[in-house]
Subunit: 281 residues, 6 copies
Amino acid sequence: MLISDYDISEFIREDVPYIDLTTKLLGIENKYGKMTFATREDTVLSGVEEVLKIFEKLDVKCNSFLPSGTFLEKDKVFIEAEGAVGCLHMAWRVSLSILEYFSGIATRTKVMVDKAKKVNPNINIVTTRKTFPGTKKLSIKSIIAGGAWPHRLGLSETILIFQQHVNFVGGYEELAKIIPKIKAVAFEKKVTVEVENMEDAILMAKAGVDTLQTDKLSVEQLTEVVEKVRSINPDIGITAAGGINVNNVEAYAATGVDGIATTSLYFGKPSDISVKIELGQ
Amino acid sequence: MLISDYDISEFIREDVPYIDLTTKLLGIENKYGKMTFATREDTVLSGVEEVLKIFEKLDVKCNSFLPSGTFLEKDKVFIEAEGAVGCLHMAWRVSLSILEYFSGIATRTKVMVDKAKKVNPNINIVTTRKTFPGTKKLSIKSIIAGGAWPHRLGLSETILIFQQHVNFVGGYEELAKIIPKIKAVAFEKKVTVEVENMEDAILMAKAGVDTLQTDKLSVEQLTEVVEKVRSINPDIGITAAGGINVNNVEAYAATGVDGIATTSLYFGKPSDISVKIELGQ
Amino acid sequence: MLISDYDISEFIREDVPYIDLTTKLLGIENKYGKMTFATREDTVLSGVEEVLKIFEKLDVKCNSFLPSGTFLEKDKVFIEAEGAVGCLHMAWRVSLSILEYFSGIATRTKVMVDKAKKVNPNINIVTTRKTFPGTKKLSIKSIIAGGAWPHRLGLSETILIFQQHVNFVGGYEELAKIIPKIKAVAFEKKVTVEVENMEDAILMAKAGVDTLQTDKLSVEQLTEVVEKVRSINPDIGITAAGGINVNNVEAYAATGVDGIATTSLYFGKPSDISVKIELGQ
Amino acid sequence: MLISDYDISEFIREDVPYIDLTTKLLGIENKYGKMTFATREDTVLSGVEEVLKIFEKLDVKCNSFLPSGTFLEKDKVFIEAEGAVGCLHMAWRVSLSILEYFSGIATRTKVMVDKAKKVNPNINIVTTRKTFPGTKKLSIKSIIAGGAWPHRLGLSETILIFQQHVNFVGGYEELAKIIPKIKAVAFEKKVTVEVENMEDAILMAKAGVDTLQTDKLSVEQLTEVVEKVRSINPDIGITAAGGINVNNVEAYAATGVDGIATTSLYFGKPSDISVKIELGQ
Amino acid sequence: MLISDYDISEFIREDVPYIDLTTKLLGIENKYGKMTFATREDTVLSGVEEVLKIFEKLDVKCNSFLPSGTFLEKDKVFIEAEGAVGCLHMAWRVSLSILEYFSGIATRTKVMVDKAKKVNPNINIVTTRKTFPGTKKLSIKSIIAGGAWPHRLGLSETILIFQQHVNFVGGYEELAKIIPKIKAVAFEKKVTVEVENMEDAILMAKAGVDTLQTDKLSVEQLTEVVEKVRSINPDIGITAAGGINVNNVEAYAATGVDGIATTSLYFGKPSDISVKIELGQ
Amino acid sequence: MLISDYDISEFIREDVPYIDLTTKLLGIENKYGKMTFATREDTVLSGVEEVLKIFEKLDVKCNSFLPSGTFLEKDKVFIEAEGAVGCLHMAWRVSLSILEYFSGIATRTKVMVDKAKKVNPNINIVTTRKTFPGTKKLSIKSIIAGGAWPHRLGLSETILIFQQHVNFVGGYEELAKIIPKIKAVAFEKKVTVEVENMEDAILMAKAGVDTLQTDKLSVEQLTEVVEKVRSINPDIGITAAGGINVNNVEAYAATGVDGIATTSLYFGKPSDISVKIELGQ
């Protein structure tokens, strides 16, 4: 799974600005070795294609690999490579970090998606734009690899009206009046408004917004909101956001919303992946 | 706390490649507003100086701020800024993400350092080079802000011999023979070897390595290793690594090692920080 | 009007990789001068903020300016600056090129928007993503400055199904069957399909697509399509595209479509802007 | 025709920052397809080598192509490629934009060169440095592909004295006095002065400038100037500039000048090129 | 003396990727200090403006400075700055390296120019494009600061025919035949040919080349060549190149050539500059 | 010998921003040629791998090469390549500059290392971080290729206390008191202090610093210092720095220090390497 085009070099330079000093001092850099990566737990792979690019830049030859998005149980080898020991050591840790952090995201995503879909097969898990600064491209790739979709990629391409916008139009009542105009201008996009209570949800549904995004409602509150706004507009989209994660996703999925927006997949424990570097022949 | 010089622009572009479409459509971009950031829990700030740079690039005026490294209890305002609403909305989320993710690292660091030092005031918490790919500069800044030190910044400046190196010199016995030569060449640096058991630890201590790094030893095993290798060389440095985190750090600190190396501070829940954007005057 | 954050330096380096050799050879680089920019025809300004950044990098002091988006008749001065002659000459041509090319886009946009709105006040002019490679950020800024909106910014954030996609799902009949599934997954976005004839337009309207994009229909054909698909779904959005430009926009606007998508604004004659560089005091 | 070395990635990222969302949602990204590019009108190709680089970055395999500089009549296929549908769709539009905009430049160049040479086989069409900001490398490549030459690439390597310089040496009379000194220092380059009337042209020719560049003279004025200055110095070079384009180039070429400098080739309608993406086998 | 616009950040990152560890460990980073730079020998300054940019990026305040191009005798202070000790230490060495290496170039240039002009006041010292890879912008600035000019900045803007070109046109005899055609096409530039002996020099002078560049001729040979080719074409330019440096420049200058091209100024001992960092108040 | 990953493109663009104009004007760009590089003196090669990358970017095919670190006597061919003449000319000079400047460093390094080791086989030559700004990656590669090691790569990874630090802790006496604390915190690294006289050397040795760096001591002074401090701590490391170069290295090596730190290898005359470009078949 390819994702646009970007420079993998910075990742390498972060870890190895010049050489692997240890390998050079030990005098083993020109020996020839094999490097294998294997899972140590259930894992959805992500970042594999980026590791292949690193191998190419560092003269490491990849003999076999499984692509990002592959689900593996523990103790499965998924990359086999070979090369000069100096090159293998330069590639090792940066590759492992990419695989562990981004497979961690992909794996958490699959777990959350599976839990939610069990309760509500039509639910969509979507992830917010609040990625760890500097990691967005691969984080987006990883949640897609795990079965989620990006909620919005940034500020420039979607219309999502927050309290922080409403403050400048004079409140939700005033906002309601201009929703039709906004919709007419942005006729190719859906207009979404974030609401934190029933009152605003009703107001916005009546004003004709395409999608409601609820923030930090309890499951009970959300259930009522869904019922009420669907009675006003059965075609309205509803996204639940705010504090929803792998632990409470089932209850929220059961409310019948169209989607659940979460940031929680972007952080957490990296996947545990083992690497062996041994004498090749 | 300044950290070298690097380009903050990529962080902005990740979130707002062009404009804040919502603000533009609502026609509020030229109104004037105030933006304040406040803690919602105990927090060690990090990333504040980077946010100031973002403000400068996006024509947001900062009226007051507290520097990275500051410890704050909940509900404390630490940045006050103002500007055109279009600019504030472009700066808001990228600034918040930087503050939340990196203050999260700094705060976790302080918690772990405090716990460890309570048990052993001379202990050092050091962090590995296994940062989330793409975040290294600010991650390093954040662990320093929280009271830890970088263990090694990359492959090019320290000598740390892993099993993956030893495989190519013929095992630990052979390694022991060349340690003196390595030390003579690298006379300005300490030579560190990673060991996983008592036998190798003793072998390496006798060979004269400057620092031992233990991997995944239990507290009991580590206690014995410390006692034994110190009896061989009282000046040897000992770093414990592998599976040590905020939950078990006290027991490991009590073993008397010089330092504890951990990756666990680099990931986890971001700090919870609130932002208000309101009408300014 | 600020647009994200990006590096203006490449524009400078394109024109002046080192110094202005002529100024240096004439020995006038340290004299002090004034530089003024003025319109030579009706112009909607664009690129002014970028020119200010160039001035800052090249030590040119700006005394006054009018922002991007300003409409000016001919012979109006809109930037006054001063500095060492060597600096003024380094800044001159790159600034002028930015102002002329991007104000050209903004001005063409205003002309087309004005013509279309006269006929149909609710029409939206939207511009495609087919910008001159390397100029996208400022081209998007310029069409917004002139009163249009971006149709889609790229491939990653909108759903627009072309013939080139349909070829792989087995034709429009097959596509119709999966539209509901696509809509459910992409519930936060509108699903748009490009059609080239009445038959496919009807098929897609019945299938429930949110927006139709017509390609290269005549005004007569488009009029019929609008009437027909609106009778199927009065809320459907319709964007006309393909060969519509400033010369025929009125007729297309009169068809009652919601928007007209065009690439034609991105190219054409740059605005004519004069620059004087004279002795300052 | 290779042109230096530069990064094609920004062009890709402009159009597809992450993935082709439509292809992904339709579930067709892993199908296999063929993509062909063909002319729809007389075209001088440019940008082909850059498209090949894009294909390489996006895992698209090119089966055949014709190089930049090739002249083709309409309906000629000039690139055939294949790959996964997701990759083809990521590559499609950015490749097409490059080919259309830059072949447009090359084609306009050939038309203008052919017209001028018919009248005056020794004439040279040279293009100014006023390229669309951000497009210089490929614009220069394209005018060369079409048969023109760059007039000057930037400020640092040629000596071209404008009115804006003359203002600081005290007028053309004073400039005449220092021309010999300038020539002695810049002995490896030609010294060119821009003039707008006969008087200054004569003054400069007598002062010994190597090349005169006339600005916005009528054909009649230019004819007189050429005759007069050649009578002063038969070896002087004369470049006509200012308002000369494909429509009036023949008359200007007939004046006997050595070259015609124009900016007009850099902008205008892109070439019309068709793309098909179909099922491969 | 400003030179275009480029990124100084890489210079900083080369030396200080994160922080000054020593300052941090000593706990002195927030103390306040003064930093002064002074010459230790006769020096033509270069790189001062770049150091000011570094100061700005690293929060160091410059109180006074002398610009690039200034000639100073030994023990003259030319930069006084102040700031937090952590910042001063981050800025110190990178600033010093820039000043020492590039002032070294400027100073060597002045010495060579002065020696040559004493013998032949009309001589020009020009420097080749063979700069130390990665240093071109500042190297060019430095030779200009010292009184020389760039011979050619690169391959794209000048015509210099080497033996390595002549090999492909069939030898100098064949080249002579096409010189007129080359001159007609490149009528805005001078055509230069490198020659290594009298025979080719005569051939080329007769063919009408604008400038001859001699390679590795002895002073005696060069004297004869100058006399001979000037008798053929008194206006021809002659540049002597190949092995000319500060030690033999006077003899070569005395031959009456127009210019001497040299690479020797780009390398050699850096200037000796002292830095003090002391307690400020 | 691979060194991390970095962008070679800037080197190309410095020399050839667009095309080789001369080759294009001569009409020989599509002829096919061979290019060979050969030594003209004893040379340790460096930069060969970077030249291979340049060849790849510029469509030049390398038929054979010898790797960086190879020692060659004069007149040995070490790179043979072929390609279109336009490509060969674009690659020629930038490749040659890389090879000449960086092989110059590698060769000077070998000469100095050999001289020092003859006197003291255990001596280490280490190079400071004072590289020519913009050349660090390849300069470090080159000194390693020649047999030296980097002394410190930058400020962030080593502890080296200069006078400029000591000024802020209250002098060497005060520094002595905090050395134990610094050592405890930085237990994985050696603590080095620069001293300029016997008194401070003794003070620091007694304080327990791991390594002393002497600055600008005469051979006699250094001999006494070595003897004295070794009598205090036989395990202390001693690095001599300040004014040591290839001419006096033997005397300094004979003092028995562990290492000699020098900047002198980074500058000086480039290696003399010849290039032929001839007709291929």
